[in-house]
């Protein structure tokens, strides 16, 4: 297993490098560069040249890339070509915000959805299962911006219970913080839980058709015990993978929720970076997102192996 983990980490590093090259090429292919976007409508050939020279944008792309890579390896993320702020400063606060939100969502949604998924699998065909299935399918079909806007309309504008924007300023008290983050939290829990509930239920019912479950049934084991003792552990592999993908989504893909609640997170930062063609910023965000995926998927695989005796003790 150690070998597998090391192998995975090495593959992960190669993936990161490939992604950095791809992101660099793609961003450079977009029309316009950071100078023409920052100067916008007011750009003239002279001011463009002056801006490029002042920010090292007049060098060939290949030099810019390797310059970035050399700094990156030494841990220097560089400065934003668009505003001059240190990339580290731009990212640090937002990474904290993103992790805080993603962590809270995971803390609530993972136990909740695994429990509800098990419940549905335990009593298939009953009203519990049917209402859970109906509810999750309905929520998967509704886009997150709709849930978010609807929540704002009801909870903030009509009822005035929660603030419309999620402010997480350092001077806020715990209570203000909790109120501020409540709405994105609710929306994201709804969005990710639905999928995880479905997967847990489907995974367990899938295993329930295996011969060893049939054996257990014939032995006269109670259904609850079959599911919790026999089926669940064999389903952990696929379930943790779905959880890992959902968590990675929470880190990198929640741009719509961040936008609607004006929550300063990483996903929006990357979009801003792409819009201004700010290569060092885009690269730094891409590395964080890609790294998150790699780490979470390695963790999911390790968990799957640990949960499965056949993989744990290979012949």
């Amino acid at each position: 297993m150690q070998r597998m983990v090391i192998q995975r980490i090495l593959i992960g590093l190669v993936t990161l490098w490939v992604v950095s090259v791809l992101v660099f090429i793609m961003t450079s292919l977009l029309p316009g560069d950071v100078a023409s976007i920052v100067l916008g409508q007011a750009a003239t050939p002279e001011t463009l040249a002056a801006y490029r020279a002042a920010n090292g944008l007049d060098q060939p792309l290949i030099f810019q890339y390797f310059g970035w890579l050399a700094n990156m390896v030494t841990g220097d993320l560089g400065v934003s070509k668009a505003g001059g702020a240190k990339i580290y400063d731009l990212i640090a606060g937002r990474l904290g915000n993103t992790m805080f939100l993603a962590g809270l969502v995971a803390l609530i949604s993972v136990p909740l959805s695994v429990a509800l998924g098990l419940l549905a699998a335990m009593y298939p065909g009953t009203w519990i299962d049917r209402s859970l299935t109906f509810g999750t399918l309905a929520l998967i079909s509704v886009p997150d911006f709709f849930i978010a806007t609807f929540a704002v309309l009801i909870l903030a504008v009509q009822l005035g219970w929660l603030p419309a924007i999620a402010s997480v300023a350092p001077e806020n008290t715990f209570w203000q913080m909790a109120r501020g983050i409540a709405m994105p939290l609710i929306v994201l829990v709804i969005v990710v839980a639905a999928q995880m509930i479905r997967m847990t239920r489907a995974g367990i019912l899938n295993v329930m058709n295996s011969p060893y479950i049939e054996m257990a049934i014939l032995k006269g084991v109670r259904r609850k015990r079959i599911i919790l003792r026999h089926a669940f552990f064999n389903t952990i592999g696929p379930i943790v993978n779905v959880i890992a993908l959902n968590l990675a989504y929470l880190v990198s893909g929640v741009v719509i929720v961040e936008t609607i609640f004006a929550y300063p997170g990483l996903a929006k930062l990357m979009i801003d970076g792409v819009q201004t063609r700010d290569l060092p910023l885009v690269q730094a965000c891409a590395m964080i997102f890609c790294g998150t995926y790699v780490v979470l998927i390695i963790m999911a695989d390790v968990a799957a192996i640990l949960a499965n005796p056949r993989l744990r003790n290979p012949k």
Binding site: L30, P31, G32, D33, S36, I37, V38, L39, G40, Q41, A42, A43, T44, P45, E46, T47, A50, Y51, A53, A54, S80, A82, G83, G84, A85, L90, G93, R94, T149, V152, L153, A156, V157, G160, P163, A164, I165, S167, A169, T259, I260, F261, A262, P264, K268, L269, D272, G273, V274, Q275, T276, R277, D278, L281
Partner: protein, 547 residues
């Protein structure tokens, strides 16, 4: 409050009614109660709201000190900057106004008054301007404000290494000279009477001599910045050592909420006090909600469709005329802008520029017969227009034009393109595209930027030497009638052209107001028409009624 749509104010009520409203408000009646009385006597919601707002303003004209103010703009990101020369968006300008000062300050009628320059005057032929600087002004770091700071600030706006976005505005200043520690001189290349008003615009905020790093702001302004987090927020606290009585609230938080619906929700639920950029579609919602109101200022900002003159179809004069005659200008103002705008006449100078606007020039109207005639003469049957939503309403204006074009047999294809990268890749590069310009401090600056034959931003690459000559000559003219005549000729050249010189190729169907929204608890927002919320001047003057 004089609304651009001429809504009634407290002054328009009869004596008895006026007393009822004023007494009611003094006794603490809520806005809703007073509005109910007014509506019971036949006033519309908008009119009643306007009357109550104006009555409140009249009653509480003395600013109160204290409280916090939270402002949300429409755009922000890692490119937010405190470098005045690179300021781009409302959020940058508003921050700049909080922490810095200019030499001069622009009034609501676009005249100027002294700010850091105590006195300024030109020599008789307007070729040399002398600025006497205020003494005893201190920067936030405690250092004194002197002529060196002005010379350093101005030096950043010219020369090869300058990245200033306002470089072209002061291109006719030959040199800035320090006379003594508190006097500077601008030596001009030619006469220019407009220099003081240009120096009152946001890019010319005064920074400390030698400043090269802009992650912190060191200005002389009414607020000190204690936190600057690009793309997240900034916090400013009142500068207790400010050189004049300004800065009414204790703390200003500036942020942006990109999503227009979310921004509006935040205002309606009271999470923010001021918001920039109200979508015309949301005006009704704001007007019917108690506690908030719109802040609309008529301006010369305009929407334009650019037909490039160096290529087909824009080089065909008849095609452009057809495009101009299919514009339903009144309908655009009424339906797309919800009344918050004025009709355009295919040149950039509308009534907001005051005396320089040429009211004698005939207004071009919606005339499908003429359009059909010119289209037939041009021999063109289809064209492709590149559209980005450069200002709210732009796409709708183009879609309306598409529908009208269909009626005269022109297949006008609309190609929607994204906003990011638009100015570098589409604008001035494709045969038919769109543009929006904010209002500029003078008619001369506006036409010089976008229409002069050597202007880098001449939208349609149109060259008219006569216009270029008039632009330079008119800067030195002091006789009002002569000046107006020259400005009128310029507007005519742009819009109509002459027999041997084609017009600019610009279709300018409408000018838009700056429409923002605010809580009723915030007063002191001006009506200077050069930008959002009274030309970004609010940070120094806004105050809260509830402290």
């Amino acid at each position: 409050m004089t609304d651009s749509r001429n809504l009634p104010t407290i002054d328009s009520l009869s004596g008895a009614d006026r007393e009822i409203v004023e007494t009611g408000l003094k006794r603490g009646a809520t806005r809703r109660e007073v509005m109910t009385w007014l509506m019971a006597s036949g006033a519309t919601i908008a009119a009643a709201g306007s009357i109550v707002s104006s009555a409140k303003t009249a009653l509480a004209a003395t600013p109160k000190k204290g409280g916090k103010l939270k402002f949300a703009s429409d755009l922000h990101g890692p490119s937010d900057t405190l470098d005045p020369g690179l300021n781009t968006s409302t959020i940058d300008y508003s921050r700049g106004r909080s922490v810095y000062n200019s030499l001069t300050q622009i009034n609501d009628d676009l005249s100027t008054r002294p700010e850091l320059a105590e006195e300024y005057s030109a020599n008789p032929d307007n070729t040399e301007w002398t600025f006497k600087l205020r003494k005893g002004v201190k920067f936030h770091d405690g250092s004194n404000f002197t002529a060196d700071d002005v010379i350093y600030t101005m030096s950043r706006h010219y020369g090869e290494k300058s990245t200033s976005k306002a470089k072209s505005l002061v291109a006719d200043v030959k040199e800035w000279k320090k006379v003594d520690s508190h006097t500077v001189k601008a030596i001009m290349k030619g006469p220019n009477a407009d220099l003081p008003v240009i120096l009152g615009t946001p890019h010319f905020k005064i920074i400390k001599d030698g400043t090269t790093e802009f992650q912190k702001a060191n200005g002389t302004g009414p607020y000190k910045m204690t936190e600057f987090n690009p793309g997240v927020r900034s916090i400013c606290v009142r500068n207790e050592h400010y050189w004049r009585d300004g800065g009414n609230v204790d703390l200003i938080e500036v942020t942006a909420i990109t999503d227009p619906v979310a921004r509006l929700s935040a205002l309606l639920s009271g999470d923010i006090d001021l918001m920039q950029g109200l979508n015309p579609k949301a005006i009704k919602k704001v007007e019917s909600t108690p506690g908030v109101g719109i802040w609309s200022v008529a301006s010369g900002a305009y929407f334009g469709i650019c037909a490039m003159t160096n290529t087909s179809p824009g080089n065909n004069r008849d095609f452009v005329l057809a495009l101009q005659h299919i514009q339903r200008r009144k309908k655009i103002v009424k339906s797309i802008l919800k009344g918050q705008g004025t009709v355009g006449n295919d040149h950039p100078i509308n009534i907001a520029y005051g005396a320089d606007h040429c009211s004698e020039l005939a207004q071009r109207t919606h005339d499908l017969d003429k359009a059909k005639f010119h289209l037939k003469k041009s021999g063109i049957t289809s064209a492709e227009l590149n559209v980005a939503e450069v200002a709210p309403g732009m796409t709708d204006i183009c879609l309306l034009a598409q529908r009208e074009a269909g009626k005269i047999g022109l297949d006008l294809k609309i190609k929607k393109v994204p906003n990011d990268g638009y100015w570098g890749a589409v604008w001035m590069k494709t045969p038919l595209n769109v543009v929006t310009w904010n209002m500029r401090p003078t008619a001369n600056v506006m036409m010089n930027l976008a229409f002069a034959p050597d202007a880098p931003w001449n939208d349609t690459l149109w060259k008219n030497e006569r216009l270029g000559k008039l632009l330079v000559e008119s800067r030195g003219v002091k006789d009002a009638a002569k000046r107006h005549e020259m400005y009128c000729e310029m507007q005519k050249i742009i819009s109509v052209g002459s027999d041997d010189h084609p017009p600019s190729g610009m279709v300018i169907p409408a000018h838009r107001n700056y429409v923002d929204a605010k809580s009723d608890k915030v007063e002191g927002i001006g009506r200077m028409p050069l930008g959002s919320l009274g030309g970004y001047e609010w940070p120094e003057f806004a105050w809260r009624t509830d402290v």
